[in-house]
């Protein structure tokens, strides 16, 4: 294993894809998200095109922090919308029965246009609400006559600011799980199939160590790479939280939010998963005749990981996040439990089932890898 790791760490491609890649990519991704979300959250950065008129409400959006852009005519406004140069075009029509009709023109094909339409409408609704309150107060009409239900909410979630933000909760499990696989994938093709191709494997086969030992050594080394790669994605996030670039406060309201106990449980969940991934990667690479063929098999194998991992991003939006069967689905179970750990709802029985399921799968895949290593047709062909 020591030799495998030494070789892997000296390989620029492995260093790049398994360690530096996740750090740079996650940092860049977070930076991009922060910039985009930051831009959306600031009204001052949003331009609202308004058709020039005498309406006193024309300046309404300016006081709400939007940037007003005057437009001479409706036709010009429509053209700006069609060309994608305006998000919305607001027109105040002549007062009718004491009401000022406000028409918001938007393009439903453009997401930003739809979002801006909602925000512009909210500004007008707020004015209406304020006006209603004033009228009711002046007329001594009780609020209950127009609003028989009074809505209030209470957040019983953690208030110690130790949990990561919502976006991070949906992203982190996905990133941790996905990099555990992709970090090792780059090295796997070279590790067995590549060795067959270069005839270095034959030098191992003629030493007194058994083929089972060779398989175990390679799997263990690849497992270390998978684990480190997965943890590298956390390092990328930690760096982002530490440097705190402009806009990062939107992403990390409570800092990185991965507490020490959470990190411990993430490790407990990751260990059997990387064992499963590493043995699967070694088995696929052993079966291939050469590294090119191995890359094809590994690419197909990655779907097994990507599909449940992607679902884990949205599991919080469904009722499945608490369903017991989720703990039986490999990859998804690890991601779902990491999510639970991150939001402070560590599910020990769920973790136990997940660890058991992944360990069983790892044992099966390792057995397959060992069988392949001991099959002459598979290992001695090139």
């Amino acid at each position: 294993m020591k030799k495998e790791l030494r070789e892997l760490f000296r390989d620029k491609r492995v260093r790049g894809t398994a360690f530096i890649g996740p750090i740079v990519l996650i940092f860049g991704l977070m930076f991009l998200f922060s910039s985009v979300i930051g831009g959306l959250a600031k009204p001052s950065s949003t331009k609202v095109h308004v058709i020039t008129s005498n309406s006193p409400y024309t300046a309404l959006f300016k006081t709400s922090g939007f940037q007003i852009v005057p437009v001479a005519s409706v036709e010009e406004g429509k053209k700006l919308l069609t060309d994608g140069k305006a998000r919305v075009v607001v027109e105040f029509l002549p007062v009718k029965d004491g009401v000022t009709p406000m028409k918001v023109r938007f393009d439903e094909r453009e997401q930003l246009s739809v979002i801006t339409k909602e925000r512009v409408s909210a500004v007008a609704n707020a004015v209406n609400e304020k006006q209603r309150e004033l009228f009711m107060k002046a007329s001594s009409i009780p609020a209950s006559s127009v609003a028989p239900i009074q809505v209030s909410s209470e957040n019983i979630g953690a208030k110690d600011d130790s949990n990561p933000g919502e976006l991070l909760v949906s992203l982190l499990p996905y990133l941790i799980v996905i990099w555990a696989f992709y970090g090792g994938m780059g090295s796997a093709a070279d590790m067995v199939a590549g060795e067959k191709e270069r005839a270095t494997l034959e030098t191992l086969l003629i030493t007194p160590i058994s083929r089972t030992q060779i398989a175990l050594g390679k799997t263990a080394a690849l497992g270390v790479i998978c684990l480190l790669s997965s943890l590298s994605s956390l390092v990328g996030l930690a760096l982002f939280a530490l440097i705190k670039p402009k806009g990062s406060e939107i992403m990390f309201k409570n800092g990185l939010g991965v507490t020490l106990p959470a990190f411990f449980w993430i490790l407990v969940l990751l260990l059997p998963l990387v064992a499963f991934f590493a043995s699967m990667l070694v088995a696929l690479s052993a079966y291939a005749k050469n590294s090119r063929e191995a890359q094809t098999y590994l690419g197909l194998g990655s779907f097994i990981v990507v599909m449940p991992a992607m679902f884990s991003q949205f599991i919080g939006l469904t009722d499945y996040s608490r369903a017991q069967w989720v703990n039986l689905v490999p990859v998804l179970n690890t991601a779902a439990n990491i999510r639970s750990v991150l939001i402070g709802k560590t599910d020990i029985p769920g973790i136990a089932i997940t660890v058991l399921v992944c360990s069983v799968l790892a044992a099966i895949m390792l057995r397959i890898a060992i069988v392949l290593f001991n099959r002459e047709k598979v290992l001695a062909r090139n």
Partner: protein
């Protein structure tokens, strides 16, 4: 000592079953270089791969240094050194790291590894480049590290599969000197080649292998005499031609 009895190896593919090694029997003694002489695809490499336990024979038996290649495969592997021009080195390890790694795989103690590395470094003149990554070495330097890897654990038996193929004349000469030196140390050497001059120079006895089976076996003088030839090349061609006619008949 290396002994084979009726060794056969069949490979199955889409076109059917191909017999790569067909009833091969020979005996290579200690302190002897036994040559397997044949054209490409004759079955030399397959025979050596069976003897080094990389693959298993379909039928027949073989012993290496007294150990059965199937039952005692681990002991066989501990007794042999295998080298060919196609067996590569790990490019991202230095020569020294390569030797240390293989020393450990062969179960040598750290003290023994250090002692043997010092020995092979001096013997094969590796000092200048043993600390460099194998990827950065010339073909000749790589082959010298390869030889060092082969003899590091001081094996009783050496399997050398076309060890000079593709090498320049100077490196080839060094490899042949190493083979002669190993014979002088009493090692059993099975040497495969298709280069007649090398076989003439090195081999004590030669088996001419063609289409998977041995067509003739003997000393250089015996092969020449039996085929009424003046050179090994002529003898080889006569035996191969005779074998071909037999197979066509």
């Amino acid at each position: 000592m290396v002994e084979t009895n009726g060794l056969c190896k069949e490979f199955r593919d889409k076109t059917g079953v191909k017999r790569a090694v067909d009833n091969v029997s020979f005996l290579a003694r200690e302190g002897e270089i036994f040559g397997l002489l044949g054209v490409n695809g004759a079955g030399k490499t397959t025979t050596l791969r069976i003897l080094s336990t990389v693959i298993q024979a379909t039928s027949g038996t073989a012993t290496v240094n007294g150990y059965d290649v199937v039952r005692d495969s681990q002991k066989v592997r501990a007794s042999i050194g295998f080298m060919s021009t196609s067996t590569a080195l790990y490019g991202r390890l230095t020569g020294k790291e390569t030797l240390e790694y293989f020393g450990k795989l062969y179960g040598l103690s750290q003290a023994r590894i250090t002692e043997r590395i010092a020995f092979v470094t001096e013997k094969l003149n590796l000092g200048e480049f043993i600390g460099k990554l194998c990827d950065t070495l010339s073909t000749g330097q790589k082959q010298r590290v390869n030889i060092a890897r082969t003899i590091l654990h001081d094996p009783a038996v050496l399997f050398l599969d076309e060890p000079t193929s593709g090498l320049d004349i100077v490196t080839s000469q060094a490899v042949m000197e190493f083979i002669e030196d190993s014979r002088a140390q009493g090692k059993t050497i099975v040497f495969s080649s298709h280069i007649m001059s090398e076989a003439e120079r090195l081999c004590d006895r030669i088996a001419i292998i063609h289409d998977g089976h041995i067509g003739a076996e003997g000393t250089l003088a015996e092969l020449k005499a039996s085929t009424e030839s003046e050179t090994l090349e002529q003898a080889f061609l006569k035996i191969v031609k005779y074998e071909r006619e037999l197979s066509l008949a």
